[in-house]
Amino acid sequence: MMNSKISVISKLFFTWLIVFVLWLAFTTSIEIYEVLTGLFISFIISLFTFKSFTSRGLKGLSPIKLIYVIKYIFVFLIALVKANFHVAKIVLSPSLPINPGIVEFESKLDSDFAKMILANSITLTPGTLSVDVIGNRFYIHWLEVKDSDSEVAFNEIAKQFEDVLLKIYS
């Protein structure tokens, strides 16, 4: 609670920045009136929402972290395309080679937001679907269970995402 004042300002500016960038993306215009209106409106919106929008404020914006965010997007897109083709193959094969089941594993992430990103990435990659997250334990419905052991499940499903996420949220 010592630096609560700084973090309030940093949270406010972070929210303002994100909302303003979103405004720019929606209007796709840099005319002076549009930009001024956007600055004003996004400031009002961020006044109301900054408390629940971010917990880290401007600290999340260091350039090294930004590089890892871009790396994460690439890792995620490659996994998405690969897994999509894999599921397409399963759907098209006449014998329907599936072995579904719910496996669990433990994650080392401690930030709530990072856990949400990990669970959402797991759900977006076809073949895996996060059913629930309780504390650090992830419960994943898996279309093709290779081994019900949690170590194997973690390495197969989440390791590639978690490695990058640990670098962003540490």
Partner: protein
């Protein structure tokens, strides 16, 4: 420009194919969880590349075309946020409604947890 146009057509075709495969998956899978897998998942790449292809096509067909591209990228991001949330809610809701997942080797790590949660809720009453 012509390269981007063909890339756009490729993405739209790919999206249509994956959306079809998603529908086929819903038809073929045995229970609700595997259907959620097939349906919402094949539609991630399907919907994303379809929308992105439309954006690229708008980018080359109109002047200025960049608003199309930026807005479609925003749609893709919103799909990427909303899709996993809804499929997670569906799967968890189905489990809470005691629909047992179809399994061949009886692998269900969530069973115990769900039992504990229910017992705690009954104790609280």
């Amino acid at each position: 420009m012509i390269v981007i146009e063909y890339l756009a057509y490729f993405l739209i075709t790919l999206g249509a194919v994956f959306l079809f495969l998603g529908a086929l998956g819903i038809f073929r899978m045995p229970d609700i969880y595997t259907r959620i897998q097939a349906g919402t998942k094949s539609s991630t790449l399907g919907a994303m590349s379809l929308v992105l292809g439309t954006g690229l096509l708008g980018f080359v067909s109109f002047t200025p075309g960049y608003p199309w591209l930026i807005k479609t990228i925003i749609i893709v991001i919103f799909v990427a946020i909303a899709n996993p949330l809804s499929s997670h809610a569906l799967a968890r809701g189905a489990y809470k409604d005691k629909i047992a997942p179809f399994t061949k080797e009886n692998i269900d790590a969530y069973q115990e947890v769900e039992k504990n949660i229910e017992e705690e809720m009954e104790d609280a009453k």
